[in-house]
């Protein structure tokens, strides 16, 4: 690799990302093409996408289990990434169905929405979702974002609620998945609603090994976790209360492309939503994370036990 070839290449290379970038806006990610407004059909099968954390995969396989039982052909694509990646993918047609969380999804499609009650949020979602997408009825199970500290940190700084964080402005380090930095239920909202400013934001993962490891080790003081994570109880971490209701209700809700939403799918997913409780979901997560069982096996076993896959 001599000097001239490298330099020559640098100029030539400038045009390459450009080629990749210029097609944004006309292809899959932003186009709602192919998503008709009429009644959908699941006859040709459904591709279920899931985000990059255990619970979402469990939910994806639960959807698959009940849909398979209803005679719908399903494919599960585990671990695709964050909501920021998944929503464009469902719009573009790479996936058809996605286990979502009511409040977080609403914040994503309508950051200004003030709805907090489940029914309100469902209506707000119906209004705010881009053409071609819809949410089906939300289920009983809920998994909220939680901002947690260790018992020692809580005692040291006298922390019980998110409002208490303000007293320590500029002192504490916050750890969460990278997207939480720019999300309303995250750094943005904590500042707006509670006036909290952190000394530093550390990009970690979604209630995964990085954020929990960093909280244990003391690399971060405040961690963004999920309420269905059994490690919170196990480690006696303190979940800060939310007096101003920054964190919306997070009932599990299926997000589906119109093109695939037919009565078979609606019925099967509604049934699952009525059966699956928060405690059930927490237990299923535990089986995957702690007992190292496959999300798929755990989901199938649950569906069978509850008579959903008969």
């Amino acid at each position: 690799m001599n000097r001239r070839t490298l330099l020559g290449g640098l100029f030539a290379a400038a045009s390459v990302p450009a080629l990749a970038a210029c097609s944004s806006g006309i292809t899959s990610l932003d186009g709602g093409s192919g998503a008709g407004t009429g009644g959908g059909s699941s006859k040709s099968g459904i591709t279920i996408g899931t985000a990059n954390f255990t619970e979402n995969q469990v939910l994806g396989y639960l959807y698959a289990a009940v849909l398979d039982a209803a005679g719908v052909k399903t494919t599960v694509r585990p671990n695709l990434g964050t909501r920021e990646i998944l929503i464009p993918a469902i719009k573009g047609g790479d996936i058809d169905l996605l286990p979502e969380y009511q409040g977080a999804l609403l914040h994503y499609v309508d950051p200004k929405s003030k709805a907090t009650e489940e029914g309100e949020m469902q209506n707000a979602l119906a209004m705010a979702l881009p053409a071609g997408l819809q949410v089906l009825p939300y289920g009983r199970a809920e998994d909220s974002d939680a901002f947690a500290v260790t018992r020692e940190t809580a005692e040291k700084y006298g922390l019980a609620s998110l409002a208490d964080l303000k007293k320590q402005n500029g002192k504490l380090v916050m750890g969460a998945a990278p997207e939480v930095k720019t999300r309303e239920v995250g750094v943005v909202g904590l500042k707006e609603v509670y006036g909290v400013e952190f000394k530093e934001f550390k990009s970690l993962d979604s209630s995964g090994p990085l954020v929990k490891g960093a909280l244990k080790k003391g690399d971060v003081d405040v961690a963004n976790l999920f309420t269905t994570d059994t490690d919170i109880q196990e480690n006696q971490w303190v979940v800060l209360t939310d007096p101003e209701n920054l964190i919306p209700g997070q009932h599990i809700v299926p997000l589906i492309a119109d093109r695939r939403a037919d009565s078979t799918v609606r019925k099967a997913l509604a049934e699952l939503g009525n059966v699956l409780t928060t405690a059930d979901l927490t237990e299923l997560n535990r089986q995957v994370d702690k007992d190292k069982k496959d999300p798929e096996d755990v989901a199938n076993a649950y569906a069978e036990k509850k008579g959903l896959a008969a």
Partner: protein
């Protein structure tokens, strides 16, 4: 396209983007630290190994095959494996980067050594040079161009791959790539990628300048 590049321009020149712990200045320094330290450690392991194998001719088959085996090691897998063993520390990053750099340096050093004309070595020995004199005064200078090629190749790969540090919670320019992926902020991803490429090219130019300087002072 124009939009993305305009935004990239804004992103690269905004003062805010350059300062603080998540600023380009700090991330650049971290990236350089990971890359240079890993390449130095790799060179400390691989250069003596390559020189020894090249000088003695022993163990060449094994070393070269191990090196090509090393090239097949998936960096992501190695990082995760070391992470599971060591927990939240810099070990996963450095182990993976060193493992990436060693094969390129060993194979090129060995290739440089074997390319030295045997007659020249014989002549040196005939003049009564000791083995270390032959190695350092005859073989090494003649093998240097290929050795430097190996080092440069290793460094380029390490700089591009040091991005992975961000996957296990650390910094470097990979932070922009992984955060941009999670936030679907393509400007940030592109910014990170461009900076990595610029660092790689700049370091490569620096090493090639060093190489030319070394040759100029080579004893005739």
């Amino acid at each position: 396209m124009y939009e993305l590049f305009k935004n990239l321009g804004d992103w690269l020149v905004s003062g805010e983007q350059w300062s603080g712990s998540d600023g380009i200045g700090h991330r650049l320094a971290e990236h350089l630290q990971y890359s240079l330290l890993a390449t130095l450690v790799a060179a400390a392991i691989a250069l003596p190994l390559g020189l020894l194998i090249g000088h003695t001719g022993r163990g060449a088959f094994l070393a070269i095959n191990l090196a090509s085996f090393g090239r097949a090691l998936p960096t992501v897998g190695l990082v995760v494996l070391v992470f599971l063993a060591s927990g939240l520390s810099m070990w996963p990053v450095y182990v993976a980067l060193v493992a990436l750099a060693v094969p390129a340096i060993v194979t090129n050093t060995y290739a440089g050594m074997t390319a030295v004309d045997p007659d020249v070595k014989d002549a040196a020995r005939g003049q009564g040079m000791r083995w270390h004199q032959v190695l350092f005064q005859v073989e090494l200078p003649l093998a240097l161009p290929l050795i430097m090629t190996g080092l440069r190749l290793a460094l380029i790969q390490v700089v591009a791959t040091a991005t992975i540090a961000a996957y296990v919670s650390f910094g470097g320019l990979g932070r922009y790539v992984f955060d941009g992926l999670a936030q679907r902020d393509l400007v940030q991803v592109l910014g990170g990628a461009v900076l990595v490429a610029v660092v790689a090219v700049a370091l490569d130019l620096a090493l090639s300048a060093l190489q030319r300087a070394l040759f100029r002072h080579r004893p005739a």
